[in-house]
């Protein structure tokens, strides 16, 4: 039993940190740290920097162009990126569809798609959720009818994150309407430029355009773009969901937010004078969430250690999701509360880089209330926390 990182792991961390220090553009870093609006190009700039270094896919095997790192190395890498304020890497290609293509794709699919995921040429989006499905994913209704070498796809997806930027979508469609729920589903790769696809923005409660509805009106998809066998899509979808939850606890980002919260609480004044961080109530709130985050970090490391021994990530991931999302919500709420009355102004224009108009209240606060609002999603998406509790009840407690 030893909770310390080995000397090798520590020198790996030093190497990662040195690279980020040297290569993360200052303007990107500032945007991330201040929580300003990110553009597609912002994400891609950092993606390409890591791609050139060979680090853009830490968890992919070297044979497919990944870094081939083990779970601890991946954890260290993500923690360093989060701490430094590097833009998030979009998971849709690298974390979601990439491993599916590696595991179940044809050699042709692998040769075409994988390098383009790595280079950033293809921006992917996820076509899982539908208006009627929600947490009951398998009830999806989007139809794909085989007509020779193509499928004709009709239907609608929703909650499609950043579909407005996407070149490709991986998509669950129903190919056998007679079969039972989980059967009769196929897994298609769809070119977003195909005729018949339209994308409608959904504006989130913070006023931002983050997700979309995607409509399919007789969209032709080559059969060659199907992953694996027809009607076996649910298998691939489950494979993906098991991988999707890596890093779901977002410990690194939460540690960065905690650091920021402390810095701001040391600058804000409490009502009676003195620093907000010295107000016993606010101090206790910070202390409480810091303690919960410490525990979550160790729990995450325990899960990673289990993964290292080839124990598959199990329902423990649900625990990481539950506590991780709750901690993110608490931190974003404290960031808002720290502002006092200046939590109220709504200043969407100020979120853009280069904005030089007036700012109401402290400049560091413009994104906080929106962040608090936005973070409500974390207990809903990726399987709501209620669903996660159902999973633990069944898998860990045997109900």
């Amino acid at each position: 039993m030893d909770l310390n990182f080995t000397p090798e792991e520590q020198s790996f961390r030093a190497e990662v940190r040195a690279f980020i220090d040297a290569h993360l553009p200052a303007d990107l870093r500032a945007k991330v740290l201040e929580g300003r609006r990110m553009t597609k190009e912002d994400y891609l700039r950092w993606h390409r920097i890591l791609y050139r270094q060979g680090w853009v896919a830490p968890h992919w095997p070297k044979a497919f162009g990944g870094a081939g790192w083990n779970a601890v190395q991946q954890h260290i890498f993500h923690e360093e990126c989060a701490d430094a304020g590097a833009p998030a890497l979009m998971p849709f290609g690298l974390v979601m569809v990439g491993p599916v293509i590696m595991a179940f794709g044809t050699p042709a699919q692998q040769a075409y798609f994988l390098p383009r995921i790595l280079s950033g040429e293809h921006w992917w989006c996820q076509g899982y959720s539908e208006p009627g499905s929600g947490s009951d994913l398998a009830s999806l209704k989007t139809r794909a009818e085989r007509r020779g070498d193509v499928y004709i796809v009709n239907g609608q997806k929703t909650w499609t994150t950043l579909a407005q930027y996407a070149d490709w979508m991986f998509c669950l469609v129903r190919t056998d309407p007679q079969a039972r729920k989980q059967e009769g589903i196929s897994f298609l790769l769809i070119d977003m430029k195909s005729p018949g696809i339209s994308v409608r923005p959904i504006i989130m409660l913070d006023g931002e355009h983050e997700v979309n509805e995607v409509f399919f009106d007789n969209v032709e998809v080559p059969v060659a773009n199907r992953i694996g066998e027809e009607n076996k899509g649910w298998t691939y979808a489950k494979f993906l969901l098991a991988h999707e939850r890596t890093g779901i606890a977002e410990v690194g980002r939460s540690k960065r937010w905690l650091k920021r919260l402390k810095a701001i609480a040391a600058r804000e004044r409490a009502c009676g004078g003195g620093r907000l961080i010295d107000d016993p109530r606010f101090r206790d709130r910070i202390a409480q969430v810091e303690i919960e985050l410490m525990a979550l970090e160790v729990t995450t490391l325990r899960v990673i250690a289990a993964e290292m021994e080839k124990k598959a990530p199990g329902p423990e991931a649900s625990l990481l999701k539950i506590r991780g999302s709750e901690i993110q919500q608490t931190l974003s709420e404290l960031l808002m509360l720290a502002l006092g009355p200046y939590a109220a102004p709504y200043q969407p224009a100020a979120l853009d880089a280069g904005y030089d108009g007036p700012i109401v209240g402290p400049e560091y606060g413009v994104a906080h209330t929106g962040l608090y609002f936005n973070m409500r999603k974390t207990t809903i998406y990726g399987g709501s926390n209620e669903i996660q509790r159902n999973i633990i009840a069944k898998m860990m407690l045997g109900f």
């Binding site: 929600g134 009951d136 504006i203 102004p345 609002f373 209620e386």
Partner: protein, 378 residues
């Protein structure tokens, strides 16, 4: 002991809620928020005609002489419909200070115009470094001849951009956080030296940063007693607290109605999600919070005219409990709606945002827990 509203009050509430149901549904509200000014003068005139603007103003000044429970009825209805018009700023805070502490001349000049919907007010008491403390006043008013010259920066003044007149707290004596030495002034919002930067707030209402640079007012602009402005200001804030508690109660009720309706309609796994016990009990906890909040909103209204310490004790207790209820109900209303709850498309996220801001208004839970604690052994 009587927990019933009078027949008159019930009729008034019914007519107000009927009007809002017909003229102020969610789409209408969104359209109003999207306008340049962010609120509707037509609605304001309708509210004047319904008597809502004058209901709690003195009879002698074209009001109806109502009490804190009349204000409660209005605010609860506004909370239920997510009304964005400047009622709190103009009627509760602004007219409240004038009715309470103003001279006869000020009352005569201001109150009837407010009741008719022809005058908008704003209470400019916050400052950038004040957080929630009304005694933190660095804006100055210096005597000049018969009148005064005001300089300073007033922060997050609700509906300050729409106001015709501002009630400004300024320091006429003492050091920055002293209780003594604060005076209130009635200032023309368009006077030379007044610069207003209006902006929307996170919940679709409006506020303004206001700078005063060498703003001259005459002697009659002083409201109440020189250097003794903190007492009426604190009382106005406590009236504001009672009002936002009532508004939050209305908003919580609407959020609960909409959430339970959604739970009964929305199907997953082949059944309405409201059949899941965990979600039912969540809704029950929302209901329990809301009922306790309603009790505190009543108590807050009942104690507005109690002696200062008792008033502050109860008003802070109300703000703590209602703030916690508003947070829980708002967050869970969104959670129980799932994905659609975190979009701007349904009303529910707007209730959540308004409830969030109401929980912060006039001081957050921690602030009022501390203020309540000052009276713990009383």
């Amino acid at each position: 002991m009587d927990f019933n509203f009078s027949d008159e009050q019930q009729q008034f509430r019914d007519s107000l809620m009927r009007y809002l149901r017909e003229a102020y549904d969610f789409d209408a509200r969104c359209a109003i928020v999207r306008t340049e000014s962010g609120w509707s003068r037509a609605v304001w005139q309708q509210l004047a005609e319904l008597g809502a603007l004058g209901i709690a103003l003195p009879d002698a000044y074209d009001g109806f002489g109502g009490d804190a429970f009349d204000t409660l009825l209005v605010m609860e209805a506004f909370g239920h419909a997510l009304v964005v018009e400047p009622y709190l700023a103009t009627v509760v805070l602004g007219a409240g200070v004038i009715a309470d502490a103003g001279s006869d001349a000020q009352r005569a000049q201001v109150l009837p115009a407010v009741a008719r919907g022809e005058r908008l007010l704003a209470l400019a008491y916050g400052e950038p470094a004040a957080r929630y403390a009304p005694n933190h006043v660095s804006t100055t008013a210096k005597k000049q001849g018969d009148g005064w010259v005001l300089d300073g920066h007033k922060a997050v003044v609700w509906h300050g951009d729409a106001a015709d007149q501002l009630i400004v707290s300024a320091r006429t004596a003492g050091a920055v956080a002293d209780a003594h030495g604060i005076s209130l002034f009635l200032v023309d919002a368009r006077a030379p030296g007044v610069v207003r930067h209006g902006y929307p707030t996170q919940d679709g209402l409006r506020a303004a940063e206001i700078t005063l640079s060498g703003v001259r007012v005459d002697a009659e602009a002083l409201i109440g007693v020189q250097d003794e402005g903190l007492a009426p200001l604190e009382k106005a804030i406590d009236r504001g607290i009672a009002a936002v508690c009532a508004e939050a109660v209305g908003a919580m009720q609407a959020a609960i109605e909409q959430t339970t309706a959604y739970l009964k309609t929305r199907k997953q796994f082949g059944v309405p999600i409201g059949s899941f016990q965990v979600l039912q009990h969540r809704a029950v906890d929302m209901y329990v919070h809301a009922e306790q909040a309603r009790s505190m909103a009543y108590l807050a209204a009942a104690k507005l005219d109690a002696p200062r310490n008792e008033r502050r004790r109860v008003l802070s207790a109300a703000k703590v409990l209602v703030g916690q209820a508003a947070r829980y109900v708002g967050q869970q209303a969104v959670q129980l709606h799932g994905g659609i709850g975190v979009t701007n498309e349904l009303a529910i996220s707007h209730y959540f945002k308004r409830l969030t801001m109401l929980a912060l208004a006039f001081g957050d839970v921690d602030h009022h827990l501390g203020r309540f604690g000052e009276y713990l052994e009383a």
